[in-house]
């Protein structure tokens, strides 16, 4: 039985197995679709529980157990690697969902000629130009010898001969477009901080004073503004070395901030365990069932 399912197939056998997979899969889905909502809900709860049980049991069961003279290994560990690959494949389709959603939104904007339809057009121009150049660059990379190109089909040869052009346009779109735009969008935040520093940061309470003081010490301690101009004169091996700005900043980061962040981590850890337990046992209110199934 194991050999039947675990043996690689080729040719028509492969097609047959893949088709059978798809047919059986959609048949099962069809049958479940016909069942009442309560059954679907219970099925989801059971699947959620069993899925969570896998990693928990794999962790709790010892890697090796000696029963008499026999050594029994943890049977769940061997599934870790294939499960990891399966999760990767399934996860990739989740990312595709994001792309599909963008297409829906911008496609609607463009087709219905709503206000700002030019933005939708810009999205599609950017998307298809980058996709084209990335695929051409992938399938026809630079560095192929004339002999390697001659072995390709005639149409492929035409594209292969233009490899330098595809690479060039790809770099224009990547470095000139995507990289520059991304870096610039994030750099806007520096200007917003400048505006907020003048207009919004008000010292209205003792807590705000403490926050501001710590922030200023960090700004002085992380840049030559403090480390060079303020306390650069103090020698590293002198008795006053602890008063150097970078030492004070490091002390605040290590002792005060380190302890506070650790307390936050503990709080988050407890919350994470509680939430994970609730999700695993499907106790979360409205978990997956906001809309009637």
């Amino acid at each position: 039985m194991k050999e039947f399912f675990a043996t690689p197939r080729h040719g028509w056998e492969l097609t047959g197995f893949i088709t059978a997979c798809a047919v059986i899969f959609f048949l099962i889905l069809f049958v479940i679709h016909l069942t009442p909502s309560s059954f679907k809900k219970r099925m989801t709860i059971v699947l959620t529980f069993v899925a969570g049980l896998y990693y928990l049991l794999e962790f709790l069961i010892p890697a090796e157990t000696h029963i008499g003279s026999r050594v029994v290994t943890n049977p769940l560990t061997s599934f870790k690697e294939p499960l990891s690959t399966a999760l990767m494949i399934t996860g990739s389709l989740a990312l595709l969902l994001g792309v599909y959603n963008l297409f829906r939104i911008n496609g609607r904007l463009l087709m219905r000629r709503k206000t700002g339809w030019q933005n939708g057009l810009a999205f599609f121009i950017g998307f298809f130009s980058m996709l084209t150049m990335a695929m051409l660059n992938f399938y026809f990379p630079t560095g192929r010898t004339p002999e390697e190109i001659a072995k390709l089909k005639p149409l492929a040869q035409t594209f292969a001969n233009g490899a330098d052009q595809w690479k060039g346009w790809y770099n224009v779109l990547f470095y000139g477009g995507f990289s520059a735009l991304g870096a610039t969008v994030f750099s806007l935040l520096a200007f917003y901080i400048v505006s907020a520093a003048y207009r919004a940061f008000r010292v209205r309470s003792p807590e705000a004073v403490m926050l501001l003081a710590a922030a200023m010490i960090m700004m002085l301690g992380l840049t030559p503004l403090g480390t060079y101009f303020l306390t650069g004169w103090i020698q590293p091996d002198s008795a006053l070395a602890g008063l150097k700005m970078e030492s004070i900043a490091e002390w605040i980061l290590t002792i005060l901030n380190g302890a506070a962040q650790r307390a936050l981590i503990f709080g988050i850890a407890v919350g994470l365990i509680a939430t994970s337990l609730r999700i695993w046992l499907s106790l979360e209110r409205g978990q997956f069932f906001d809309v009637e199934m």
Partner: protein, 287 residues
């Protein structure tokens, strides 16, 4: 002084950031324990037995390349200079761009070193293993079978044809993980790999994430850190001191402009509060 137009504030900020670049006043960078620990950790990686590849996990996008790329570049210079084999990997789709930038930097550095008589080649000294979406459970799968996880590099070359991946089978053959990321991806490495298999972990977060990483540094779960672009500048200073790089570097020059901008922001905070308290006293504003 009451209500300065924000566009004037932006213009002054632009001038404050730009002028120090023309003045060419590279201010000295103070030594820092975290960068020193990171430097020593890479020096200590022992690849003499043919295994122990360094895994450089690059998860930044062009958004944060101003900080993350200098960090990655500094460590790549170190690893190529010392002939420490490494592989570049990204676990997020947004990190693919950063991975490509780091690979391009490695190519340029390798070409420079080859000209200097220290031949370095792709596939032999480093490889770009591409993008594989990962969470902690997926990385645990990698720990059991590293070549099976990667299968091919980003150029389509099978793993068994890459000399850099020779003798690399499981997590025991990973000498170190370096995480260059603006997010908390280091937690995934701690959960799945480094704590479990006792693999040294170096962090290279952006400055925003630095306070969040300290609990892991002080508990020993991470062995060193490059703190944002400051960390990159500190690391570059160490490379210069150890004759692995010359004086010119982006990280060090950025620090001078950053010092000016920080001073400007501090002045604005003080000015803003002085204006606010004056208005309070005049009764123009209620607390």
């Amino acid at each position: 002084m009451g209500n300065i137009d924000r566009r004037i504030l932006y213009l002054i900020a632009l001038l404050v950031m730009t002028l120090p670049l023309f003045l060419k006043l590279p201010l000295p960078i103070a030594d820092n324990k975290r960068s020193l620990d990171a430097f020593d950790a890479i020096e200590k990686v022992d690849q003499s037995k043919g295994n122990q590849v360094i895994l450089l996990s690059v998860n930044f996008s062009p958004d944060t390349k101003g900080e993350s790329l200098p960090q990655a570049r500094a460590m790549v210079v170190h690893m190529l200079q010392r002939s420490k084999k490494f592989i570049i990997y990204t676990m997020s789709s947004t990190g693919v761009a950063g991975q490509q930038m780091v690979d391009d930097e490695a190519k340029a550095i390798a070409a420079e070193l080859t000209k200097q008589g220290k031949p370095r080649a792709y596939g032999k000294d480093w490889a770009n293993m591409g993008y594989k979406p990962a969470s902690s459970p997926i990385l645990e799968g990698m720990a059991r079978n590293v070549p099976g996880f990667f299968t091919k590099d980003s150029r389509g070359t099978p793993v068994d044809q890459l000399p850099v991946m020779d003798n690399i089978k499981t997590a025991d053959d990973i000498g170190m993980v370096i995480d260059v990321s603006p997010t908390a991806s280091y937690e995934l490495w701690i959960q799945a790999l480094t704590s479990k298999f006792d693999i040294p972990l170096l962090l290279a977060p952006t400055s925003v994430m630095v306070p969040d990483t300290y609990p892991y540094l002080i508990s020993g779960q991470a062995q060193g850190e490059l703190r944002g672009v400051l960390g990159a500048a500190e690391y570059e200073s160490l490379l210069v001191k150890n004759k692995m790089a010359d004086q010119s570097s982006v990280g060090t020059r950025v620090m001078t402009s950053m010092a000016a901008l920080n001073a400007y922001i501090m002045i604005l905070i003080i000015l803003g509060n002085v204006t606010y308290f004056r208005s309070l006293r005049k009764g123009e504003v209620t607390k």
